[in-house]
Each structure stands twice: as C-alpha cells, then as structure tokens.
Amino acid sequence: MHHVVLEQWSRGSSPVHRFDPRAKLVVLLAVLISVATAARGLPLFAGALFLLLITGLRFARVPVIRVLTRAAVILPFTAVFAAVSWLAGDPARAFSLTVKSYLSALAVLLLISTTPLPSLLRAIGITGAPPFLLEVAQFLYRYLFVISEEAQHMTKAAAARGASVRQWIAQVHRFRAAAGALAILFARSYIRAEDVQRAMLARGFQGSLPLLRVTKFRTSDTVFLILASLAPWALRAAAERALP
C-alpha cells in the first residue's frame, strides 16, 4: 500500500531528515503562504520554487519522480475547477489554481516524506494545538492500516462470494448488504477500540504518550529555519522584479 512507502521514506536518513520537525514545520508554512499569496510573476516564481523543492527532495534522498507523481493526486480535483474557471473566462485563475495547489501538495510531501508522522504531530503540539486532538490523531494513524486491512478483507470475502456492487440487479439487497458489512466493521472497530483503551489504561496511560527521545533545537536547525523560510520569499521578490 502506498502509505507504507511514505512511512519508509520518512524513516530514511539525510540532512533534511535530521532537521528538527519544528523548524521544518515553520519552513513549510513559510513556503505555503508565499505560494498562496503570490500573484504577479507567478509562472516564473512557480518554476523557481519547483526547482527549489526538487533540490530539497534530492537532498532528502527520496525518489523524486515518485514524489512528483504522488503530488499529482491533487490534479484531477484541481482540473475540474481549472476547467470551470476557464469556461467562466478566467484562464489566469485556471493556471494559478493548478500551479498553486500542485506546489503546495509537493511542499507538504517534502515535509511528510522526511519526518515520521508521530514526531510531526508532536511538533504541531508546540504551536498550542489541543493535546487531546493530537493524541486522537496519533491513535488514528496507528490503527488506520489495521482497520483498513480489515475492511479490505471484508470486501475481498464478499467478492469471493459473488457480491458485486456494479451489477444491475438486486441493488436494494446489495445496498442493505453493504450497510450490514459497514455496521459489522463499526462494531468490530468499536470492540477493538475499547480493548485498546483498556490495554492503554492498564499500562498506566493518563492522557499523554511519553517521549522516548528529547529533540534539541540545534544551531543548524536555526540556520536552516531562517534560510529556508526566506528562500521562497526571495525567489518571489526576484520573480516579481523580473516580470513587472
């Protein structure tokens, strides 16, 4: 499954992987805001930022082409709105929607493929996000694959018995069958959830996951934070100068 790939990338080792997650989070926000508010000289700025992000991916030693295609999952949705804007007589917006959403997705992917999600969520915690919410997100991510596999087993088992939702006949029965399957999945998830809950409480869980390793904010993190947050803005200023 594709998320396993992402998990592999995020546990690699490279200079980009070693930067503090907090620093990377600030840099991501700087990049996203510079993209979101860009207007003049967008084509030039977008091209320059694209090259910068690819350089980042090379430094992070993740497969560049595969990351680029993964970021393209955004494009079908964007294409619809781009086409609609074009129809409404606004081709410039169609271009900006496509470019901005793709670059933003690429920037997020650069962060997530160099930072394991648990440490990223912990980094989000220092911004003042509710700890309860972040814990829910941690557990959600932990059990995402477990429950997804259970759902896959159920659909496979149903298909093996000849159930197909694409048939023309007996649609009402199939609808009811799918609802029953979902109810069973819910009940199973709920039972599992209570088991996990009890197991966590038995191990002394009191609402926060302990840190295994304290991350220190090093000088190199500070330098990276400043340089990498300013880089997109510098590119943007240069692009705006070149194309008045």
Binding site: L29, L133, S189, A193
Partner: protein, 302 residues
C-alpha cells in the same frame, strides 16, 4: 469536499483558520470533559474506522458506487463534541499524509465538515430522535451534514473569487444534493443494521429541553450557508445594495487599510514589505488564535 491549498484567497483562509483554532480547542476540551477517563485511544480507532469505511462501496444506480462520509454516523454514536474531534483528526491526517485538502485551508475544511457539518447532523437528531420521526431524523441529519459542508465549501470558493457559469453551478448543486441524499440513506441503513447487532452503539441525545434553541440554530446554519452562497455567487447584487445604502466605500476602506494588498506602504523595497506584511499577518493570526483559545479556556475553568 476537501479544499486544497491555493484555492482560497488569503483573507478567506486566514479568517477561517483564526476562527477554527479556538473553536476546535473549545470543543476538544468539552469532548474530554464528557468522558471520565482519557478516551483518545477509543476516538482514534473510530477515526480509523471512518477512513476504512470509504473502502466499502454502495451501489448507486447501475454502474456507479458511492461511500460513507461518516460525520453524521460519528455524531450519532459519539455525540457532537467527540465527533468533531475525530473529524478534525481525520482531516488533519488526510491533509498531511494523503494530500486530501490543504494545510492553510485546514481551518476552512475543519469548520465546513468537522464543526458545522457535525452540528448540522446532530441538531435534527436531537430534536426528533425521541419522537416517531426518529428514522427521518437520522436520514435528515446525515443529508444535512453533507449538504451544509458542500454549500459552505462552495461559498468559500466564491468568496475567494472562483467564478463558475450558472449552468455549472446548477449541476454541481444537483450533484451535492444527490451525494447528500446518498449519505442520508447509507447512514440510516448502517444505523439500523448496527442497532440490531450492538444496540448501545448509538447514543440517545441527552435531552431535548432546548427544542426551540435547536430549531433556531438549525435554521440559522441553513440560512447562513445558503445566504453566503448566494451572496458570494452574485457579488454584483450585494455591491449594488451596498452602494445604495452608502456603506460599500466605508467597508472597503475598513478592509483595505491594515494591509493594503499585503504591502506595508511605508517600506520602499517590494520584497521586504511583502515579507514583512506576510510575517506580520502570520504573527497576528497566531496571536489572535492564542488569545482567543486562552480566553475560552479561562472562562471554562472558572
């Protein structure tokens, strides 16, 4: 409907992010207080269920399939506050790991789906679930939740300047209506199946003592979302109205003055002023979020 980054204009996403942070902080605290122990593991696993539920396809006419969105089912089984927390966690994971929805647009998506979508599902349920209209309340709640989320997302796009021909708008509204009805049908069928195998899974609303309040807030949510859509889709009409009333120019200067097009005019260099205006904007948003969440927290703890 997850809005990606780059679709919303800066004032829209910034405002919605500022609004979403204290709202979610308040609801998270409220959800935590309704449980006697820390239920983060339970809510997390149920969030994973909503992800997995999207793999089970439902037949919708010949050849096409649909799937559960899940906000309403969570609201019926966990209550609105916990459902909002789970939906927010889902949206965050979707934005970070699956590139489904943007990071800057997360505030917008959270307000549309996790806060107002869940609320729109829960209000009809809390009004009618104890009467013989219970089945209808389940269906209506799930339908409304998808409809409200979709209409809000659409109006935010309009406010950001995305234009679409009226024919396209009509078609997309029709599509939203169909998927909303589908969500209603799926949720109702799943709840009925679930009550047969695990009767306690769906919780009763605490009480419907504030029936009038619930009715009014439901009407307010509906009116606001539809009103914003029309206001955003036809800005000319609003502007004309404003000119007639003579408020339009005031409003405009009011909005323009602090960051006139993100350029602090007193700085010469375009780059410096842009960077400074951007950073000042972020600092302002952050400060506003922090102050609001502190204020909400203090009021609660007394």
């Amino acid at each position: 409907m997850h809005i990606p980054d780059g679709f919303l204009s800066a004032p829209v996403w910034a405002t919605l992010d500022v609004a979403a942070v204290p709202t979610v902080a308040y609801i998270a605290r409220r959800a935590q207080r309704t449980f006697e122990e820390d239920k983060a593991p339970l809510l997390g696993v149920l969030g994973a269920f909503v992800f997995a539920a999207q793999m089970i396809n439902f037949p919708v006419g010949p050849g096409t399939t649909g799937h559960l969105v899940g906000g309403a089912l969570l609201a019926f089984s966990l209550g609105p506050a916990a459902a909002t927390v789970v939906m927010t966690a889902i949206l965050a994971i979707q934005a970070l790991v699956f590139q489904d929805g943007g990071i800057l647009a997360l505030g917008a998506n959270v307000l549309n789906m996790a806060v107002l979508g869940v609320l729109a599902a829960y209000i009809p349920y809390s009004i009618w679930s104890r009467t013989r209209w219970r089945k209808f309340s389940l269906f209506a709640g799930a339908t409304l939740s998808v409809l409200v989320s979709a209409v809000l997302a659409l109006s935010e796009l309009f406010l950001s300047g995305v234009r679409m021909p009226s024919a396209v708008l009509g078609v997309s509204l029709a599509l939203f209506a169909v998927s909303a009805l589908l969500e209603g049908a799926i949720t109702l069928a799943v709840v009925q199946a679930l009550e047969r195998i695990q009767p306690k899974a769906i919780r009763q609303p605490l009480s419907n003592r504030s029936l009038v309040l619930a009715m009014v807030s439901l009407a307010a949510i509906l009116l606001a979302s539809v009103g914003v859509l029309f206001a955003a889709a036809a800005p000319d009409g609003i502007e004309r109205l404003g000119q007639q009333a003579g408020i339009s120019s005031h409003v405009r200067t009011l909005f323009r003055t602090p960051f006139a097009d993100y350029q602090a005019a007193f700085w010469q260099s375009a780059f410096l002023s842009k960077a400074a205006a951007g950073l000042a904007g972020v600092a302002l948003i952050y400060a506003a979020c922090l102050l609001l969440s502190r204020a909400v927290g203090r009021k609660r703890s007394i």
